[in-house]
């Protein structure tokens, strides 16, 4: 008999990180850091901040790897959430906004280097979400996407859309409510 090579997933690396396996941590970084760095750069706009946030993200992942459980969702989702929280912490601290490039909102390049099965799953989830987003009004959809991808807050969205803050908040809340309802069905 010959043993099959283990399937190397992020979940697997995280499980080993929880055991203190540093080689697995390096592998986790190699397999996921470009994706997270892309997410962070898009929100923070500044290279130095994105690098700082990336550092903090992986230190947290290392220290809290034992808090991750595959039963609660994909490892990439877990990592993305740590990274996004880190980005918003930096935004909170600095109240800085760089001059954003709005064109990047529509740019939807797909990254490579992901396990094909996981990617197929991601594609299905993305199609479902996009179908739901398409049902929103343009204003609602743009607000949600700008907030999620570019890290714009309500005030910044109001300035961008030249509409009152209350209007923006309504767009956001109605948009969220509709997305939730749509994704339940």
């Amino acid at each position: 008999m010959s043993a099959e090579p283990a399937k190397q997933t992020l979940e697997h690396y995280l499980a080993r990180c929880a055991l203190g396996d540093r080689a697995a941590f390096a592998a986790l970084y190699r397999a996921s850091s470009a994706k997270l760095f892309g997410v962070l750069l898009r929100i923070l706009k500044q290279q130095a901040w994105a690098e700082e946030a990336l550092q903090e993200t992986y230190l947290k992942a290392w220290r809290h790897a034992s808090g991750y459980s595959p039963a609660r969702g994909a490892a990439m989702t877990w990592l993305i959430n740590i990274a996004r929280n880190q980005a918003f912490d930096i935004l909170r601290r600095t109240e800085y906004r760089a001059g954003e490039d709005l064109d990047s909102v529509t740019d939807t390049l797909f990254a490579t280097g992901v396990d094909p099965e996981a990617q197929a799953e991601t594609q299905r989830a993305l199609v479902l979400l996009q179908r739901c987003l398409e049902r929103l009004s343009v204003d609602q959809r743009q607000s949600l996407l700008l907030a999620y991808h570019e890290g714009l807050g309500p005030t910044e969205l109001a300035a961008r859309a030249q509409r009152p803050l209350a209007t923006i908040k309504t767009w956001l809340r109605r948009g969220l409510a509709q997305v939730r309802e749509c994704m339940q069905t």
Binding site: S33, K35, Q55, T77, T112
Partner: protein, 242 residues
């Protein structure tokens, strides 16, 4: 703001995940999140809904200095609150169902390894806890590079081995999946076995270790019998960027 209205709670969770909950409202929400499990569930649901958007974001390779900085911080003196490496093994639950048994077993055994007179003061470089098909711990190997390459073996389960047979430990390579013979064991006692440089490399490159029963007389090149035990080979010290 009221945090007991279910619809409002869910909306706040959505805004938190979206990133539009800002300033003090975000701080308050985060404090609440730390203790409110059901709020956590709502947040998690929103994270799952929006995660595909983040996943489709274009990947950008970060500069090498980021990993070097992370590595330096991890390798810096661990904070006193940080658990000993063998206590962290308690988190094996992520990969194994029989968590409690393993935690207790590992804590006790590794505690012994650390405390045994004459033992190497530093912890092992690698540890592998091998289990049988029923996920019962059967065998523990700890590999050290000081004072010279060697592996300590603890038998955790009794195993009758017929005369003329031996327990063979194999390393299954992380990169290729190749199975190569590592060491042969006596079935009935703890033992320390010196490793050659080639054997040490096998340990370093191993995804997991397995044990089969083999004829003692002719060293096997590949396993001829079923796998008796199997366990991840965990690297406790190495951290390299390449």
């Amino acid at each position: 703001m009221r945090y007991d209205n279910p619809a409002l709670r869910d909306m706040l969770a959505g805004e938190y995940v979206l990133g539009t909950l800002r300033g003090r409202a975000r701080d308050r929400f985060q404090r609440l999140l730390a203790t409110d499990k059901r709020l956590h569930t709502l947040v998690h649901a929103w994270q799952e809904r929006f995660a595909p958007l983040a996943e489709e974001t274009r990947a950008v390779t970060p500069p090498a200095r980021v990993f070097l900085a992370i590595k330096a911080r991890i390798e810096a003196a661990p904070a006193p609150a940080e658990p000993m490496w063998w206590q962290r093994l308690g988190f094996w639950h992520a990969v194994s169902a029989s968590a409690l048994v393993l935690v207790v077993t590992l804590s006790v055994l590794l505690g012994n390894v650390m405390l045994r007179p004459g033992a190497v003061p530093a912890g092992p470089n690698y540890v592998a806890l091998l289990q049988d098909d029923a996920a019962r711990p059967a065998l523990m190997l700890t590999a050290y590079n000081k004072p010279s390459w060697h592996v300590d073996v603890e038998m955790l389960a009794e195993r009758r081995v017929e005369p003329g047979q031996t327990l063979q430990v194999w390393a299954v390579a992380r990169d290729t999946g190749a199975t190569q013979p590592l060491i042969m064991l006596a079935a009935d006692r703890a033992q320390r076995i010196a490793l050659s440089e080639a054997a040490w490399k096998l340990v370093k490159g191993a995804e997991f270790l397995i044990v089969t029963l083999e004829p003692a007389a002719s060293p096997a090149r590949e396993p001829s019998g079923p796998t008796l035990y199997r366990g991840y080979c965990v690297n406790l010290k190495g951290l390299s960027a390449s």
